[in-house]
């Protein structure tokens, strides 16, 4: 399959809104995990998160539209606008039938849904906003982005737990490769910092309860790991065929060159211990890219900070890269701002592209005593290093595995 160009990046994250602010905080290794302030979450076992608090300051969305949409759609709209600006694309000049949207998320728009459900039980059915029907469901951001820009091409929302957005990006690339579209907005968004969504995440059982030390709570691959911390945000990129990007003199951020996805098929929640199916997804992505494992010089890790997840991820990497794994820098920068669940893969793509551009690998914070020794983790602070080919891993409950290979432009 052909490589696809990424020509624009849009990001809304606890670490920053817009790629400059976001990257400044990522490269500095700053944590944005804190006690949840949006609502009283003190009785939840885990009540810390990465929150996006000042989206309105950066938003182009009118009040009239805001009242109709959930926070996850709002974040997707802002990230899409940033991505289009970054790509230098005037969407009005595009053929709307040849523009698509491929977004992923895991849980839908619960802030809107639970508010209206509360009104349903208190006020009866007349108390429920008519916008409820179009605000809560996982494909709502795709719909809102398409309405906002008048986009009419083939589009898709992928719901695959935490792997959703990386799978959406992989799917989008396949569609572009078949010459069905001129360009795609691809990525993901998630807004789990709400009373009900936080409760669901807590019952899932993989959240850190180290509430007294929020910034030290999320410690993937560390011996003292205690689970992940949720975060909210959106990452969107503009993808287009290389010929088209070159023809319009676009600045190409990176190429997406390989994608693979598999299922473990062993448990409704946990992954397979051996990581074999994840290894197969990685090999598929490498084969798709037409490169061998020796060429990968950075790996962006999924890193749930749960024993079976982290250990099986390393087992998969050992199966694919063998003894060379110890030489490849590995990192899980989401330790700084939280696990964005279905949007985490898109955010990892954004970070990896920025790492390539700045020749600077982002750190995994809180990784002080690795559970599996002898690996080349980037810890503490950023590390100068040129990256030409990188692997991004994103996984989901029930054994969903996805892997993406990107290359420097």
């Amino acid at each position: 399959m052909d490589k696809i160009a990424v020509t624009g990046i849009g990001v809304v994250a606890p670490s920053g809104i817009g790629k400059r602010q976001f990257w400044a905080n990522i490269k500095a290794g700053r944590s944005f995990i804190k006690e949840i302030t949006r609502f009283d979450s003190s009785l939840y076992p885990s009540h810390i998160a990465g929150q996006v608090d000042d989206l309105e300051k950066y938003s182009h969305v009118t009040e009239r539209l805001l009242k109709k949409i959930d926070a996850f759609s709002h974040m997707a709209l802002v990230a899409s606008e940033f991505a289009l600006q970054d790509a230098g694309i005037d969407i009005k000049k595009e053929d709307p039938n040849l523009v698509g949207i491929f977004l992923g998320n895991a849980i839908g728009g619960w802030l809107y849904a639970e508010t209206e459900l509360r009104d349903l039980y208190i006020e009866g059915r007349e108390g429920v906003s008519p916008y409820m029907a179009s605000a809560w469901f996982p494909a709502a951001p795709q719909g809102q982005v398409s309405i906002y820009y008048g986009i009419k091409g083939f589009s898709k929302t992928v719901v695959a737990d935490r792997a959703g957005s990386l799978m959406a990006i992989g799917y989008g690339r396949k569609v572009l490769d078949k010459d069905k579209l001129n360009m795609i907005l691809a990525g993901g968004m998630e807004a789990p910092v709400t009373p009900y969504a936080l409760l669901c995440c807590n019952t899932y059982g993989t959240l850190s309860q180290n509430n007294s030390q929020p910034q030290a709570a999320y410690r993937p691959f560390d011996r003292g790991r205690s689970g992940c911390v949720i975060g909210e945000g959106a990452g969107v990129v503009v993808m287009e065929p290389i010929e088209r990007a070159k023809k319009r003199n676009a600045s190409i951020c990176a190429y997406i060159s390989g994608y693979g996805a598999t299922c473990d098929g062993v448990d409704r929640i946990h992954p397979a211990k051996d990581g074999h199916e994840l290894a197969r997804a990685i090999k598929m992505a490498l084969d798709d890219a037409g490169i061998n494992p020796q060429e990968i010089d950075y790996i962006s890790l999924d890193g749930l900070a749960v024993d079976i997840w982290d250990d099986s991820e390393i087992a998969a990497l050992q199966e694919v890269f063998g003894r060379r794994l110890k030489d490849i820098p590995l990192s899980c920068p989401k330790s700084m701002f939280g696990n964005l669940l279905g949007a985490s893969g898109a955010m990892d793509l954004v970070i990896t592209i920025l790492a390539m551009e700045h020749k600077l690998l982002p750190p995994t914070i809180n990784l002080e005593d690795a559970a599996i020794k002898g690996l080349n983790y980037v810890t503490g602070e950023s590390r100068h290093r040129e990256v030409n080919k990188a692997l991004i891993i994103s996984r989901g409950r029930g054994g969903i595995n996805s892997a993406l290979v990107i290359e420097k432009s």
């Binding site: 009040e63 009239r64 805001l66 109709k68 007349e126 008519p130 916008y131 029907a133 179009s134």
Partner: protein, 79 residues
């Protein structure tokens, strides 16, 4: 406050638009591009504000401010 001014305020508040955007003589759809979902909420807001019941076809996105005023005035005067 006259009924028409109150209708304007209620619609502007419900639809999150400025009252001056609601032009006389234009339908809600023609003037500010109201969609059917927005109309559901706008009608509920009018019913609450004027303590009346509005049938589905009495106030629609094709109604002008004058049309809405006529409907609501007739109901307010009856009660």
């Amino acid at each position: 406050m006259e009924i028409k001014d109150k209708i304007k305020d209620v619609l502007a508040g419900s639809l999150k638009v400025k009252p001056e955007e609601l032009k006389e003589g234009l339908s809600l759809e023609g003037g500010i591009g109201v969609d059917s979902t927005e109309m559901v909420e706008a009608v509920i807001a009018l019913e609450k504000a004027f303590q009346v019941k509005l049938a589905q076809k009495e106030v629609t996105k094709f109604s002008t401010l004058n049309d809405i005023e006529k409907v609501i005035s007739s109901k307010v005067n009856k009660s």
